[in-house]
Structures are given as C-alpha cells and as structure tokens.
Symmetry: C2
C-alpha cells in the first residue's frame, strides 16, 4: 500500500486522555479512534492487526478440531432467564428494549445461546463430543471504560464451547483448548503463562487464565522460568492423544504460576531461587470447565448408547481478540513506538524515500515496491513528498518489523539501508541483497 493513497492518520502529540502506553500508541499510530466512551473504530492500520490476530486464533482453533460458526450480538432476555443469569448479571449487561418492548441484550458471552442451539438440534450421544466457537463482537457496559481497547465496552472475543458425554471427555476437551491456547499465544509472538484461576460468575471448578507479561500489566504474577522455555508448537503433541494431553496438563499444573490473588508463598519457596520470575501481566484468555451447570439448568439432554438420557458436560474458552492488540503493544514497544511481532505486523516492510522529489530515489523505490509486492511481501510504501525524518519517525511509531530506506546518496552508489525495528540495527546493502533478504 502506498501511504499517499492510504488512510493512516498519525498524531504528533500523545493524547492527554490516554493513561497507558498501548492506548497512547494506538491513538498516535492511528490504529483506533474512540467514537463513544469505551467504543472504538478500527482504522485501517489497527484493523489489519486485528484481522491477523483473529486469523491466527481461528487457525489454531480449527487445528484443535473446534468448529466455527457465528452467533448474533443481540440476544433475548428469555434465553438468559432460563439459566438464571439474566437477573444475576450486573449492570455490565447492556439491556435493550426493542420497538415491541421485548427485553433483549447485547451478548457479553454465549453459554445460554449455544446450549439452546445444541438442545434443539442434537439428539444422540453419537453427535458428541463437539466444540464450537465463534469470533464475534461482545458488549460489557463497564462503569468506567479506560485503557483503550484493554478495557473497552464493545470488544471482539473468540469464545468456544465444548459438549461431552462425561467429565473425562470434558477434561480432554479442556486440555485440547489449553494446548490450543498455548500454541495460539506463541504464534502471536507473545509469552502467555497459564495460571490456575477462580472461575467466577461462569461457575465450575477447573479454570485457567492466560497472562501476557508486560511491565504495565494490571496484576502481579509469579511463575517458574520453565514457562519461558516451553515450546508448545514443537512438542509434536497431537490433539487426539489423550495420554499426551493429560501429561501436558499435569506438567502445566505442577509448574508454579500464580497471580497475586492465588499466590502461595509456601509453594513459591519450593521453586529454585534462580528460576523464580515475577512481573506484571495482562489477562488475554480464560478457560472454564463447568460441568452440567448450563445443560441441567436449560434441559439439554441427549440419548446415550443404552437409550437413557445423558446430560452433557460443558466448558467454555475465551480469548480477548481486540484486547490482544493492546496487550501485544504493552509487551512490545519502546520510546519510539510499537514493535510488532512479525506474525501480527500490519505490513512486514516499511519502504521509505528520504527525498521523494529526487527522481532516481523515487524510481528505485517504485521498483523495489513492485518487486516486494510481486514477491508476496506485505509492504507499506511511504511515497509522500514529506521530510524524510518525519517519515522515518512515523515508521518507528507504526512499528513494522523492517524499514527499507532509499536516499539519494545511497542510490548514487547503488545501496539502500535496511533497519530491523526491534533492534534498531541498520545495514547498507545493494538493492538486490535487500530484496533477497526480505523475500527469502
């Protein structure tokens, strides 16, 4: 994309109403704009990142055997009365009356709806187990929305729901999502540590939250260095391998990790001192096993192999997709701006001409842009007639992994400058060498 034809508004000043770094950077770099308290429009730059995260979450859910569908944002109050949550849920639920004065709500989660869909369409034990998920906008009417998309009101979430015939099966579904989550966050380029958690208003007795480490995190965390060493993608563990998943769960459970709420000094002291890690963290995912809580309340039954009724055991599994954009920035930035992990970067390369009015530079940059694009390298080309320093500053702010800088002096001697955003390391290269580096 050429910046001269894009919609990439960048702010020079840090907005005064933003308190945390991700919120400031998302406004300054033009990822989002607030359109009402806690509600954001995703400008093209932010939307590209959001879609990349969404796609990685989707691929890892699919790989784990979860089936995608899409439930609507507006739900009927009736449905929530069946589970008893309509009255139990606080003012965070956005309640709506339609033109016929029917009570509706903007869904904050979908346990009730999917349980009802399952109840209407599934009759037999042969149709279980199943895990279904969707990636949809939710609403939580926070009393004081803040921190940008980190605690907004309208937010994008992946939520999955598992249905099994018994607890043993349900635990397998839970372990499957546990592994999918570890792999998802690793692919996103961030380290997320699973922590045993209280399950809160969702109910149930088995729950983990996933915490991204970032200095500005909302809660204090304690964990064993082992969590920095695990490589979940390379474990070779298959989703159908029940014993392997049990071992994974046991390993995660026996390796220390806790938030300040669940921290246990006695167990912490058992961790070798040089392996103790502390820091701050941001919750980006939460998984729950809650057994028959919704299936019993809502009368979901299937016929078992012997003809008798079986009440499915359920779990639910959330990832805060829009929140992740903020969390990744909290975990990966410097004083100049954002540093995107390559997998979620809006573009891989930022191509900059230092002097757009210098014909040889422009011609060389146009050519590089064509070749990068033809080679499938996502490239943002700042072709504007604007001061080089301003353009470089914008590129640092936007945080693409690579900057390819074309200036009159370099071009005269056949070279360009390639900069790695994360390290700041710069290298003079021939045009061919730069191209081959970026397309390989």
């Amino acid at each position: 994309m050429r910046v001269s034809q894009a919609f990439l508004p960048v702010l020079k000043e840090s907005p005064s109403d933003a308190q945390i770094v991700s919120h400031k950077l998302m406004l300054r770099a033009g990822l989002v704009r607030q359109t009402a308290a806690g509600i954001y429009a995703w400008l093209p730059l932010g939307y590209r990142v959001l879609r990349k995260i969404e796609q990685i979450v989707r691929e890892e859910q699919d790989r784990a055997g979860a089936i995608e569908m899409l439930m609507p944002t507006v739900q009927s109050a009736e449905l929530w009365r069946e589970s008893g949550r309509y009255d139990a849920y606080g003012p965070e639920m956005l309640r709506i009356r339609d033109r016929h004065d029917r009570e509706m709500l903007y869904g904050p989660t979908n346990e009730e709806m999917l349980t009802a869909l399952f109840r209407d369409d599934v009759r037999s034990y042969r149709d279980l187990p199943r895990t279904l998920y969707h990636i949809q906008w939710k609403f939580r009417d926070e009393v004081r929305p803040r921190f940008g998309v980190m605690r907004g009101r309208e937010f994008l979430m992946k939520d999955a729901y598992s249905f099994d015939l018994d607890e043993a099966g349900a635990r397998q579904s839970y372990y499957t999502q546990l592994l999918a989550y570890l792999r998802t966050f690793q692919r996103l380029g961030i380290r997320a540590v699973p922590m045993k958690a209280a399950s809160g208003p969702i109910g149930g007795d088995l729950s983990h939250e996933f915490i991204v480490l970032a200095p500005t995190g909302e809660s204090e965390v304690f964990y064993d260095a082992a969590f920095e060493e695990f490589d979940w993608s390379q474990s070779g563990l298959s989703y159908g391998d029940a014993d392997g998943l049990q071992r994974l769960f046991d390993e995660v459970s026996s390796t220390y990790s806790a938030t300040d709420e669940t921290h246990d000094e006695a167990r912490w002291n058992d961790v070798a001192e040089d392996r103790r890690r502390t820091g701050r963290g941001i919750e980006v995912g939460h998984i729950f096993y809650f057994g028959d809580k919704y299936s019993t309340a809502m009368g979901l039954k299937v016929s078992g192999p012997d003809g008798s009724n079986v009440t499915p055991m359920m779990g639910s599994y959330g990832i805060g997709v829009s929140r992740l954009v903020g969390a990744i920035i909290e975990a990966s930035h410097d004083e100049h701006g954002i540093i995107w992990p390559e997998e979620v970067a809006p573009w891989k390369v930022g191509l900059v001409t230092m002097r757009a009015d210098d014909a040889p530079s422009s011609a060389a940059a146009d050519d590089l842009y064509s070749k990068l694009t033809a080679g499938g390298v996502e490239t943002l080309y700042d072709d504007r007639d604007e001061r080089g320093g301003v353009k470089l500053g914008s590129m640092d702010l936007i945080g693409l992994p690579w900057q390819l800088v074309v200036g009159p002096r370099g071009i005269a001697s056949g070279t360009v400058e390639l900069k790695r955003r994360a390290t700041g390391q710069k290298e003079e290269l021939s045009l061919e060498a730069a191209l081959s580096r970026l397309t390989s």
Copy 2:
C-alpha cells in the same frame, strides 16, 4: 470435514413458519437457526457460505481501491443529532440507553460516524480522494421481520463511503463502485441488474440498486437482454481509467432496466421486443451519491490547494452480505435443495459412502478424502453409518457442486459415481479419473 465430526443438523420436515424457499432451505439444510425474532445464529454450514461471500466482496472492494476498516456496532445518539437523522429515523432504529442513561443506538449505517472520523483526522486536499469500507453487523428493528435472513433485524452489510474534492471526482468514485458491484455479483455466480433508484432517506440525486433475478423476488423488474450478456470481469476496464468508467456508466444508463416503481412504458417500447426481459428481483446492493449532505451538516472541511476550505462530496455504497445468502438460494435451487454456485459453495465436493459398514468402500472413500484434501479440494465427507439414500438426500439438500459416491458394487469394479448437482448428470469413473476431474 467429516460429517461424523461436524455440526450439520439437517431437518427432515420443512419448517412451518418459513414462507419463502430460501428461508425453508436455510433452516432445513442447517445454515441458520432463529434465536429471536429476525435474529439468526449462523451454523457452521451457513457461516462458511457467509464468509465466502464476504471474502469476494472484500477482494473486489480492495481491487477497486477502497480501504478496509471496522466501525463499531454501537453508536452514540449525539453523532446522529449532528446530521439531524436521530430524530428523523423511525422506529427501525434500535435505540439503547447505557448504564449511565446515555442515548446510544445499534448502527443501521455509518455515514455520520465516518464523516466524523474523517473530520477529525483529515486536513488537506492531498488526503483526498478516499473510499473506506467496512463489513460489519447492522441492526434494523423491522416491525415484522420475515423471510429469514432476507428481512432480518441483525444483518451483515458491506458499506463503503467515498470522499472527493468535487462532484466530478465523486462521480468517478461512484462509477468505480458501480463497476466493483457488477464484478462482485458476477463472481458470486448471480446476475444482478443495476437499476436507477430513488435515493430515499440517505438523500442525493444519483443512485442505483442492484437486483438479483429470482422468481420469488419482492419486486417486478424489466430490463434489456443486454444485461444478460455483459461480462464485467472481462471488460479489461481499469479502475483508474476515467473515460472508460464514464463510458461504462453511460452504457449502463442507456440500457433499459427498471423496477415496477420506476418503469417507463414509453422507453420500454423502444427496446426491441425479443430483447425485453421481465421477472422478479431481490435488492442486494444500493449505491448513492449525496454530495455535501453530511459533510456540510457535520462541518467536514479540508484545505484546498489554494488554502481555502473545501467541503468534500460524498457517496455511500452498500451490499447486503447476509441477505445475499438468501438471494443466491432464491436464484439457485430445485425441488431437492440448494444448488450453490461454485465460488460460494461451503465445500466443493460431497463425498458419500453408500455403505459405511463395507470395509473396501470405507477404505476407498478414506483414501479419496485424504487425496482430495491434500489436493486443496474442499470436501465434506459423509462417513456416517447411515443409509446411503438418506446421505444422498442430505447432499442434494446441502447443494455442494459435486457429489462423489462410493458404493460396494462400484468399488468391486474400481469405479465411483460423480454427480454434478446443478444438472443431476451422473458419470461412472475410475477413482483416478474422478480425482483428476475434481483436482484439475
């Protein structure tokens, strides 16, 4: 995907509350389920189709130079007061009060929001022209929702908005979207005829609606056979070619097409009798040029080349993405079920074993499934231990373009049956020949 692991509930009976064929088939084939009046959950089968349509719409918008972003579903009433539409809009607008008693609404469209975003971030004529779009859920609180997703309340729409410095530029943006629409509908495998339209509550004096021809359509249409012959994808017309776009517009404008509302008997009589086509149609898109209606009302100005203020001229461009699922079915079905155009089919091939308990058949089908999947052919494999006739009936209902049927007798002689859903034509082929036909 294996049916034994999928979530594909099929109904034997036609639901009594569905009046039109697309609604009946979407319920029977398990594309959607109603979760509240006019609000639908998209089951996995329906969601696959919805995503394919969405992706084609996206690719054609991108190709036309429109830039994707995403605006939220919930908007503030304040924004709509600026344009004067908050009070003008009828009870179709879903009005919401949040916990602080602030007036909000579930957006039915986004002219106000994008005008405001543009006003905050765009200062100079150099940042125009721009066309931005998003694909997002909207809500229209229909007094009597019906016809399934064709007149639902929560619906998915692509809406684009163009900003230009003057009317000539704005007309170019309009023509660009006109061409993008013609190409989009053609790629979707349906014929959509553009018709000059009244612009209604959006305002402005240049507007077209796009009507898909289907016997069950909501309005009567009249058009010149030329609209059945144009090939918009092959025209070679480039989006930057101002003269070419003007000629396209002139050609579309001078070729007769009208709904019963705009029908002109005198002009109709000028169409050669053997070229007159009449039928019924469903609106799937609508484009509007409305000049400075919103930019003036909301104070959007940019500085022009000479430093004076310029009020941008705007247009907006909608496609009913979720409605298209119903419209395509209305246009393409028979008494056995849906007939998907290949580009939007949820899977390309339905692989069926006539007797899953016959070991050689199952082994052959498993092998075909692996090979098709490895060859990138999207395949739904009905591997259930269910009567062959039932499985074939489901495949006809679901409407995948190809059915590959594996039975004990055929396998004994090394053949399978390949059926084209659209024509019903069947062919006995060797396994290799069938594979090569489907992967080529």
